[in-house]
Amino acid sequence: MKGIGKRVTVAFMSIVALLSVSGLISLFELSNLSYDTEAILSANSRDLELAKNLLRSAHDHSRAMIDVAIFDKEERKVACRNASDELVAHISSVYAHAPKAIHGSLDTLSMYVTDLAQLTENYKSYEVVVIDSLRSEVRRIDGRGWYVESYEPAYDRFVEQVKEYITLSHGELAPRATQLSKNVYRSVAPVLISLLVMIAIVLMFYYFVYIYGVKPILRINRSLSDYMLFKLPFKPKTVMVDEIKELHDNIENMINISKSNKKQENDAI
């Protein structure tokens, strides 16, 4: 490459290109990071919302069953059925979003919902209820007794399972969060590396401009001043390339012409 102007322009354009690349990398990595964080947060809030819905429906179901079984409020049977349907719908919704690793827990949860529904159906049809296989006994329905002995344990099991689901679901999020904490380092690494390369290039740029641009001009200037003031020979000690070399050569030629003109004048006199 020839020409100091061309060299500086190319070097400057390289720095601009690197800056642009660094900017793009930063944007790309930050948007990735933002996307990952958003995914984790939304998964977390979705799980909490689902668990809350499940517990609320179960609570509604329980309240309705108390009204039906203990206080003989027949009109609450509809609320009981609705709560039961909601539970099934929520479970399906959880299945759709939950990772495969916690499907086992969801299967248990689903089974407990079926148990609750089955118990309710049995009660509503005034049939006998099998509470425990070991103590299976046929008896007439006693609302309060049925609720305490049959329904409440099933309800408690269901609530416990929902809590377990929340724990498992958060456990599933934890590795993702850990991965993200590692990825933060990964996300910053390209930006840091580009920054380091840029610092190295800017330092080199400064060095080269100083060595091949500034220093020769300063030396030429000083040498020219020394020549004009003290008549010292014009011999700047520096590396000169391109136009600066031409400048040096031209000054040298001019000095030589001036010297020969002076000599001719002296000879003529």
Binding site: R7, A17, I193, I201
Partner: protein
């Protein structure tokens, strides 16, 4: 000293690395793994870093010895820095210190790793790992000389610094010829071993990676269980042969093919080297057989030969957990990892040439005491060794052992046991790779404290630059 000229030549070496990163990125693109973006980005950044000095600095007509030293050592250090870019960007197990360790270990062909799960790495990054071994095998500057004919007249100055004085003895050719010999033997051996490994049952990708690694006597494998993963006697024997050839003086290999007088079969150093290998393999094999480590004598010998060749050539491939071997076998293997291969090869370590010369000097001194007036000359491979050469070798070996002791001392300070500390120091400075104890052939350096990892990388670089090159670099300002 012209700093700008140094920057230009170091930049040229960096450009070679950029090309290899681009190839690795291509591999990642084809295999569709996660290594593409880190490798491409690293390649672009490296390209810019290497090409930038060329904008301003024109090709120098000549370079001084001092500038040559700066170029060679600077190229090694900058290569190691640039080499960790893909690792750092990819992430995973690579922290800053781990990436530096892996990069230095790759370029110096040490082959020690901090990775607990090598197979988790994308293919492009695995290729880059092997490429660092391959580039470092002949020396980063020699590699640039091999592939860049534009370096022209400065080849002599640079190759003179990169090659050790002992290595130069067997190159009885002009510099241009030496570079051609290296090119033909190194690339030829890599191609041949790739084909042989493929035929023996490896996948193309694994065959290329193992071939690059074995020709450089590096030891980076694509498998967690190293060569032991294949459990194939054929693959092991192919690797044994290639490791052995790679640890011989490349000039002698060329001379043998060219039917010159100074060939492998007439080389005193090679004869001693072969005797050491055979002796060590047989004694270790017998020890393993008698101790009942393996079922039969053949398995004992097979494992023994592979491990002896792997250690003495400083490759560091593993087919067995040598920590489970007898103490006698472990001691022999540690001695082998101090002696190492021949000068002028891709092997690291003290080199068998120096050890042999040292033994000859010792013998000459003893004879000198018996016959005080006798003039006893020391020759190595028929070449008369002057006092300067003898002193250099003695000083080298002394410094080598001082550094091993210093490394051991520091490691024990950090709570490592004596065997692990000593063997890891020997493995680092000799560019062998695996040690014993906590850093055995089937273990890694992941658990090592960061400061010890950094110390290890300094030892690796010192070993690769034959100690004095590195020390000279530190005192470059005092060089008048």
């Amino acid at each position: 000293m012209r700093f700008s000229v140094i920057l230009r030549y170091v930049g040229t070496v960096v450009l070679c690395l950029s090309a290899f990163m681009a190839v690795s990125a291509g591999i990642s693109l084809v295999s569709g793994d996660t290594g593409f973006y880190p490798l491409l980005l690293s390649s672009l950044l490296t390209l810019l870093l290497g090409a930038f000095p060329m904008i301003f600095v024109s090709k120098a007509d000549s370079i001084t010895t001092k500038e040559g030293f700066m170029i060679v050592v600077g190229s090694w250090v900058v290569s190691c820095v640039v080499g960790m870019f893909p690792y750092l960007i990819w992430g995973g197990e690579f922290s800053l210190v781990n990436a530096w360790f892996e990069s230095v270990s790759g370029f110096t062909t040490t082959g020690a790793s901090i990775l607990t799960d090598i197979e988790a790495l994308p293919q492009g990054l695995l290729f880059w790992r092997s490429a660092t071994n391959w580039i470092g095998g002949v020396g980063v500057v020699m590699f640039a000389l091999l592939v860049l004919p534009s370096l022209g007249t400065n080849k002599m100055a640079l190759s003179g610094i990169e090659l050790s004085s002992l290595a130069k003895d067997n190159y009885r050719y002009r510099t241009q010829m030496v570079v051609k010999i290296l090119l033909v033997i190194y690339i030829g051996l890599t191609v041949v071993s790739t084909i042989l490994l493929k035929v023996a049952g490896m996948r193309w990708f694994d065959a290329v990676n193992h071939a690059m690694s074995v020709c450089a006597t590096g030891g980076f494998s694509t498998k967690n269980a190293s060569v032991g993963f294949y459990d194939s006697p054929l693959i092991e024997w192919i690797l044994i042969v290639v490791m052995f050839i790679s640890s011989l003086h490349f000039g002698l290999i060329y001379s043998t093919f060219a039917r010159k007088a100074n060939n492998i079969f007439r080389s005193e150093v090679v004869r001693v080297y072969v005797a050491i290998i055979v002796g060590a393999a047989l004694t270790i094999g017998a020890s393993l057989s008698f101790s009942g480590t393996y079922d039969n004598i053949f398995t004992s010998l097979r494992q023994s030969v592979f491990q002896v060749v792997s250690i003495i050539t400083t490759t560091g491939f593993a087919t067995a957990d040598t920590n489970l071997w007898t103490p006698f076998a472990i001691v022999i293997l540690i001695i082998l990892s101090i002696i190492c291969g021949c000068a002028g090869s891709t092997s690291g370590g003290a080199k068998v040439d120096r050890v042999l010369l040292y033994a000859k000097v010792l013998k000459a001194r003893l004879r000198g005491q018996q016959h005080p007036n006798a003039i006893i000359r020391v020759r190595l491979d028929g070449i008369l060794q002057d006092d300067r050469q003898v002193n250099t070798v003695t000083l080298f070996l002394t410094t080598y052992f001082i550094l091993i002791i210093a490394g051991t001392l520091t490691s024990t300070l950090f709570g490592m046991d004596l065997l692990s500390s000593f063997s890891s120091s020997v493995a680092f400075i000799g560019n062998v790779g695996p040690g014993f104890g906590e850093v055995g052939s089937y273990d890694n350096y992941a658990a090592m404290p960061s400061l010890l990892k950094i110390q290890g990388t300094i030892l690796m670089l010192m070993g690769r630059l034959e100690i004095f090159g590195f020390i000279q670099f530190l005192f470059i300002r005092m060089w008048r």
